[in-house]
Symmetry: C2
Subunit: 320 residues, 2 copies
């Protein structure tokens, strides 16, 4: 099977929202009047972002999900994406599974594949995704203000729990392992929540490298500090709710610095708590208030007595 | 050096034309009223698209050039791009060179880096580039009509000549090798020509996989055939002009099916020959009429007597 047959069989689908899709030198996009185009790009490398044994359907889902998560963090509505794929060889079963997972998620969000590239090489996937957001209203990292509440969506730490189980540093009951593995391999981008928070949240980011590390980006760009209640950690790990008992230090590490969560962390004025919970209800996504923004720089994780934990948490960095 | 320091040092430059650049979950683009956004994405893999020994400045140039070439083939004006980079390790001299070549070409075309991703992995570069084109006026592959002239820009085959010299299948005088190598490693995208041909050319494509293979895409999408004059081949190889003598069969192979040229092949009504040459003069790019479009399907390479050459030419395909 050649390059062009491969594209035709697995990836060339008619476009409905874009003026021109796959098959020319460029695709054409046309954002509606008054809209800006939000653009994000994520590269996934075998052995670093996913295990070589992962179900290709889950991988197809995840490759798009991590990009939709960035669109969500800006409050953008997904429109389209391009896919670049380096493949060591043409494995039709793998391609069919990958395409199935990819297009299932794309279809859920009305996000269409408009172009890309295929080549031979070590397995590497790059997706660039496009969304629309009303001009000047995108959620940015720079808008957090002292006194704002600090919120997170969904649950945190389960993806890292699964990674630790794969690494053999922890043993998990089968049901808990499978649930955590699903979390790691098939994250659900908070697309509806991001859009529901437009006009309510003052800042947002998606949590990919661990809550505290990503929160640090909001603090730096907003010129503020924050405190986070460590007591929220048990309630945020889904595995805890499913009955898993963990040492408190490990639990905090997973939830506060685990990585690969693809939840949203966001800030909103304390006076808008009801608006936040109403937006979350509309989006069908749970949210938890975990702390607050302060004028004093720095990120403080507080124990039940309100005292800073002495421990350091490290965000994920590909080159450290 | 960590991931965020690496981005800050080598890639984070202020944006002037885009509402938001590097540093948030998404970049924001806003095409002018009445414009469509042309989008293209190309992935370059070490050992496949470039040699591991290539000067990183030339590689930075080429990674963007191949995308600008796609924008050129649509007649789009470059606006912005994202860069995803998988690196085996942080090599600061390499990064500095790569960024220098990349931004030099970007600056020439007013095309700004607005986002992307960096990760560790086998060296792989993906750029997605964005350009503006008046709505409904983009040059497409589907517009060639019987009777149109068939044109190419610049010179063809020299990049492949350099590749063959690297492979050891041909020996070249040093000056000719260096010129051909520059062509292979640092192609010049025909951005000004593409825009100058808006409203004149009926179809266009950029030549990356070899003239005849890429021309085939125009013919299929336009539902037409074409004949190409083999006699044009010697005049299109720059090395011939520099005095290199080559066997006729090899010369035709290089020019008609060489690959990595990043010139434009385009069609235009025969009645608009003067418009084509005027547009080429405005763009400062030589163009050559090499054949014509016919209603009869198929691609015929004709000898000086007007008879079809019996030889087959194969376009480049990553999976054959």
């Amino acid at each position: 099977m050649g390059e062009f047959d491969l594209i035709a069989r697995y990836f060339d689908r008619p476009v409905r929202r874009s003026p021109l899709g796959i098959g020319d030198d460029c695709a054409l996009l046309q954002p509606a009047a008054g809209m800006q185009l939000a653009v994000t790009s994520d590269m996934l490398v075998e052995g670093r972002h996913f295990l070589s044994t992962v179900d290709p359907r889950r991988l197809g889902h995840k490759a798009l999900a991590v990009n939709l998560s960035d669109l969500a963090a800006c409050g953008a509505r997904p429109l389209a994406f391009t896919l670049s794929l380096a493949l060591p060889a043409v494995d039709q079963a793998w391609l069919a599974g990958f395409a199935q997972g990819l297009f299932a998620l794309a279809g859920e969000h009305g996000c269409e594949l408009v172009g890309g590239d295929t080549t031979r090489g070590p397995l590497c996937i790059n997706i660039t995704a496009f969304g629309e957001v009303p001009a000047g209203r995108a959620l940015l990292r720079s808008g957090a203000r002292p006194g704002d509440d600090l919120w997170v969506s969904g649950t945190l730490g389960d993806a890292r729990l699964a990674l630790e189980a794969f690494r053999g540093t922890i043993a998990l009951p089968q049901a808990i392992f499978e649930a955590a593995r699903l979390r790691m391999e098939q994250p659900q981008p908070r697309v509806a929540l991001g859009q529901a928070l437009l006009g309510i949240a003052t800042s947002a980011i998606d949590i990919s490298d661990g809550l505290l590390g990503d929160l640090g980006h909001i603090l730096r760009r907003s010129g503020v500090g924050a405190s986070v209640q460590a007591a929220c950690a048990p309630g945020l790990l889904a595995a805890t709710g499913a009955g898993l008992q963990l040492d408190e230090t490990l639990l905090q590490e997973l939830v506060l610095a685990g990585g690969d969560d693809y939840e949203l962390a966001f800030t909103a004025p304390a006076a808008q708590r009801d608006d936040v919970t109403a937006a979350a209800a509309r989006a069908g996504t749970a949210v938890t208030c975990i702390g607050s923004i302060a004028a004093t720089p720095g990120l403080r994780v507080l124990d039940a007595a309100g005292l800073p934990l002495p421990r350091q948490f490290a965000g994920f960095d590909h080159f450290r």
